[in-house]
C-alpha cells in the first residue's frame, strides 16, 4: 500500500473514531462508526487481507450497523442530555487512556523489528488459503462457532419475548 493511502485512511479512521465519542446524537455516532469501519477495511486491503476486508464491510459496516441503527430508531433515542460529569471518573479515564498511548509509544520505539518495511508478498489467493486452513486445522473451532451463533440466536429470541418468565 502506498504510504499516502495508509496515512489518509488511518487518519480518517481515527477522526471518525473520535466522532463516535464526541457526537451527542446516537445516530450520528453510529454513522461515524460505519465510516470508521470502512476506513479500517481499506487498511485491511492495504495489508493484502482481502477476505477480511470484505467480511469487515459485509458484517460490520453492513449487518451490525444496520442492527445498531434499527435499535436506536426503535427506541427513539433523543440526544443525550448534558449531565454533570463525574470529574474523578473523567480524569481517571483520560489518565488511563493517555497512559496506555504513552506506554505504547515507548514500547514501539524500542521495537526495532517492526521498523523494517514489509517484505513483498508472494501471491494473493487468500480466500483459498483461509478456507484451507479454516476447514482443516481450525475445523473444531469453526463448528463451535456455529453452536455459539445458534445459542446467541435462541438467546435473542428468549430475551425479546415480552413476558420474561
Amino acid at each position: 500500500m502506498s504510504p499516502l493511502l495508509f496515512w489518509i485512511f488511518a487518519a480518517l479512521m481515527l477522526v471518525f473514531g473520535i466522532g463516535v465519542i464526541i457526537n451527542r446524537n446516537p445516530v450520528a455516532s453510529a454513522l461515524s462508526l460505519v465510516a470508521s469501519f470502512l476506513c479500517l477495511a481499506a487498511l485491511f486491503v492495504g495489508l493484502n487481507a482481502y477476505f477480511i476486508a470484505v467480511i469487515q464491510v459485509l458484517v460490520y459496516a453492513g449487518a451490525v450497523m444496520v442492527l445498531f441503527l434499527f435499535i436506536i430508531m426503535l427506541l427513539d433515542l433523543r440526544e443525550e442530555q448534558r449531565r454533570r460529569f463525574n470529574l474523578l471518573a473523567v480524569a481517571g479515564g483520560a489518565l488511563v487512556s493517555l497512559g496506555f498511548v504513552a506506554e505504547l509509544v515507548l514500547v514501539l520505539r524500542k521495537f526495532t523489528l517492526g521498523q523494517k518495511p514489509f517484505a513483498p508478498i508472494a501471491q494473493v489467493d487468500d480466500v483459498r488459503q483461509i478456507g484451507m486452513t479454516l476447514f482443516s486445522t481450525h475445523n473444531l473451532p469453526l463448528q463451535v462457532t456455529g453452536v455459539l451463533i445458534l445459542v446467541a440466536t435462541i438467546g435473542v429470541v428468549v430475551l425479546s419475548k415480552r413476558d420474561l418468565k
Partner: protein
C-alpha cells in the same frame, strides 16, 4: 518513508484508546456498546498487521491470525445481537438507556 508494522500498531493502539475513553466517558449505553466494537476492531487491525508482517518461508502471510480475526468478527456479531436484545429488554423495563439511571447492581 515507507509504512512499517509500527505504524499499524500505533494506529491500532490509538483506535483502542479512543474506544476505551469512549467507554469511560459516555453515558449512553448504546454509544458505550459502539465503543466496545471500536476496541474489538483495533485488536483486529493489529492481528492482521502481524499476519502480513510474519511471512512464512513460502512468502505467504500467517493465515492463522486472519482466521482468529474471522472468529473475532463472528463472535462480535453474536455479541452485538445478544447485547442489543438485552438493551431493548432493559429499555422496556426502565424506559432509559442512560447508565446512571441503571445502577441497581452498583455497590
Amino acid at each position: 518513508m515507507s509504512v512499517t508494522l509500527n505504524h499499524y500498531l500505533l494506529a491500532s493502539g490509538l483506535l483502542f484508546a479512543i474506544g476505551f475513553s469512549g467507554v469511560l466517558l459516555r453515558r449512553n449505553i448504546l454509544t458505550i456498546f459502539m465503543c466496545l466494537e471500536l476496541m474489538l476492531n483495533a485488536a483486529n487491525l493489529s492481528l492482521v498487521a502481524f499476519s502480513r508482517f510474519n511471512l512464512g518461508p513460502d512468502g505467504l502471510p500467517n493465515y492463522n491470525a486472519q482466521i482468529l480475526v474471522f472468529f473475532i468478527i463472528t463472535v462480535a456479531a453474536a455479541e452485538v445481537a445478544v447485547g442489543l436484545a438485552i438493551i431493548v429488554a432493559l429499555y422496556r423495563a426502565r424506559q432509559t438507556t442512560h447508565v446512571e439511571d441503571i445502577n441497581s447492581l452498583k455497590f
